[in-house]
């Protein structure tokens, strides 16, 4: 165990995989100077500019080249800088990477990792703040990871790199500085589709992922002060998502609240709430609930930005209401 930031945990994961497997390589704008947040600091020096490479400002080529390089046996890790810029490469991700294996009848494997940081990061405004994980969960062929902790950012990035499917890997920009214990084991892998119980509780189940997990945990803390024990589940990956664990928890608590930072309308919370309602509808103590952002772009000024955040208090209020 070592105490690492979320950022350094991701960096360590990539460094270990680069060292372990000569077919792993990373490419993206500015990686030679450490990447825009420093997630790649020192890696070009260690592994050389061919293995950790700068790229032109060509998102379509970054992703498209990764598809070609993945189909021919290497394991590219591509950096999109902000998930918003990955929108410049959607054909390459959705029509090419996600479908190649299927449409070529199993001849292709596309083992690539698309790192695309998500989320609000103070005053980054409408084009640098989006969380579009539900989009990729909707696309057959893709795996979607949204780690919330330093340990997961290590174990899941390593798992993503070793995985033979294309993985959309969404780190949250607001978590870069978060520190915690991280296993040193070079084979520490967090499997996709296994949720983490952040905190146990029998009164209600709160499901979340990415940075919002910490808001949910803070809400559960506050609820405990009121005598309400909420179980907090961090999904970690949203495709696949740990349906079994969520259903088991809600079967026990009878109450589900899903909360995420993304827009609520057609967000992945809808999928979870719908699934739970379908499967456990008869046994719920109270209807399922969702909390996500209003359907509005993210604004620059702090009060405007904050208006679309799902706060700890909103979660506390929702669960309290569900307990009535």
């Amino acid at each position: 165990m070592a105490r690492l930031s979320y950022l350094d945990a991701g960096r360590a994961a990539l460094a270990e995989e680069l060292a372990r497997d000569p077919l792993v390589w990373a490419i993206g704008e500015d990686l030679g100077r450490g990447g825009v947040f420093g997630q790649y600091r020192g890696l070009t020096e260690t592994f050389g500019p061919d293995r950790v490479s700068d790229a032109p400002i060509s998102e379509a080529a970054i992703l498209g080249a990764a598809v070609g390089a993945a189909m021919t046996g290497t394991r590219p890790v591509v950096e999109m800088r902000f998930s918003d810029f990955a929108l410049c490469a959607v054909d390459e991700l959705v029509n090419q990477a996600a479908k190649a294996r299927f449409m070529f009848g199993g001849q292709a494997r596309v083992p690539l990792v698309v790192r695309e940081p998500i989320g609000m990061w103070r005053s980054s405004a409408a084009q640098h703040s989006q969380s579009l994980e539900s989009w990729y969960a909707h696309i057959p062929g893709l795996v979607v990871a949204c780690p919330a902790t330093p340990a997961d950012n290590k174990g899941m990035l390593k798992a993503a790199i070793r995985c033979d499917d294309p993985v959309v890997y969404m780190e949250h920009k607001n978590l870069w500085g978060l520190e915690d214990e991280v296993p040193d084991d070079p084979d520490y892998l967090v499997p996709f589709g296994e949720a983490r119980i952040v905190r146990g509780g029998g009164d209600a189940t709160i499901v979340s992922w990415s940075a919002q997990v910490h808001v949910a945990a803070a809400a559960a803390e506050a609820l405990a002060g009121q005598g309400i024990e909420a179980e907090v589940i961090d999904l970690r990956s949203i495709w696949p998502w740990d349906k079994e664990r969520v259903l088991a928890s809600v079967a026990r608590t009878g109450r589900l609240l899903v909360t995420h930072e993304a827009v609520a309308v057609a967000g992945f919370g809808a999928e979870i709430a719908a699934t739970v309602a379908e499967r456990l509808g008869r046994d719920l103590k109270t209807p399922v609930r969702r909390l996500g952002a209003p359907r509005a772009p993210v604004g620059y000024a702090p009060p405007v930005e904050d208006a679309v955040r799902v706060s700890r208090d909103a979660i506390v209020a929702a669960v309290t209401e569900m307990m009535r």
């Binding site: 077919l23 390589w25 061919d50 293995r51 790229a55 032109p56 060509s58 379509a60 080529a61 992703l63 498209g64 080249a65 990764a66 598809v67 070609g68 390089a69 993945a70 189909m71 021919t72 046996g73 290497t74 590219p76 054909d91 390459e92 029509n95 090419q96 190649a100 294996r101 299927f102 449409m103 070529f104 009848g105 199993g106 001849q107 292709a108 057959p140 062929g141 893709l142 795996v143 995985c163 033979d164 499917d165 996709f192 589709g193 495709w239 696949p240």
Partner: protein, 314 residues
Amino acid sequence: MMHRIRALEEVALRGLADKVVLGAIHPSIGQEAVPVGVMGHMSADDLLLSTHRGHGHTLAKGASATAMMHELLGRVGGNCGGKGGSMHIADFEVGMLGANGVVGANIVIAAGAAHAIKLRRENRMVACFFGDGAINRGPFLEGLNWAAVFRLPVLFVCEDNGYSATTRTATMTAGAGPAARARAIGVPAVEVDGNDVLAVDAAAAELIGAIRAGDGPRFLHARTYRITGHTGADPATYRPAGEVEAQAHNDPIGRARDTLLAAGVAAAEVDAVRAAALAEMEAAYGSARAAPYPPADQAFVDVQDIGSPAVEAY
């Protein structure tokens, strides 16, 4: 090989009329000299990225006509098990990494395949075919720049048939053309009469020589003509009267025949090649018609390892 491509597509068009080829097909009839001239310089080890109009590329790269015909009919035994069809045909065994239903998308993929070759210090190359319409898509710029910046072993081949679907490409394209654009992006380019298989062969030899010598990407602009419509179902009435007829003398197969005859090859010999090709494709067509469709559960196979619909469909 030109005869084989022509015969394959003629039979496939009959398959369309017979309503057994179900999806759209884009015949390359009239354009056969380009893939044949280029692919002669490539081995099975080398890689190919193709387009919606990729039957000729695929066959020339060494794919089995029988497997291709099965694929066009969506049958078991197709290169993609019947799951891809004409627009997604691929044969990784012979280095054919896929047709593509998205114009220009293959250009960046080809750059990436060449990037992997460089990273692995392998001794092979990539050829990437696309049409004249594709040079107006962003990935053309991004892919060529990428290949040039990283000095990758890739030959870009622009098959310029003058049309983008029903539109005369020239009306929607500014500047001096594909080769000029390639040069401005740092990729040395050669222009060739794409209906002269020997000229294509010679140009490809030179360009591929440079690529194999490690000089980075090269670009071939081949002028050709699409004798049929855009798809098998397109009557192409938007073409000026007489245009197709005026191109008759320019058919690459006819021209190659003339060249061969002039060189003393017997007409019967050439005709025998054509007859053999037709017979091969008829047999492939028969085989495909007799083959079953893949079972429904193939819908859930080869989607992905993690979170596969084969485990749980919803």
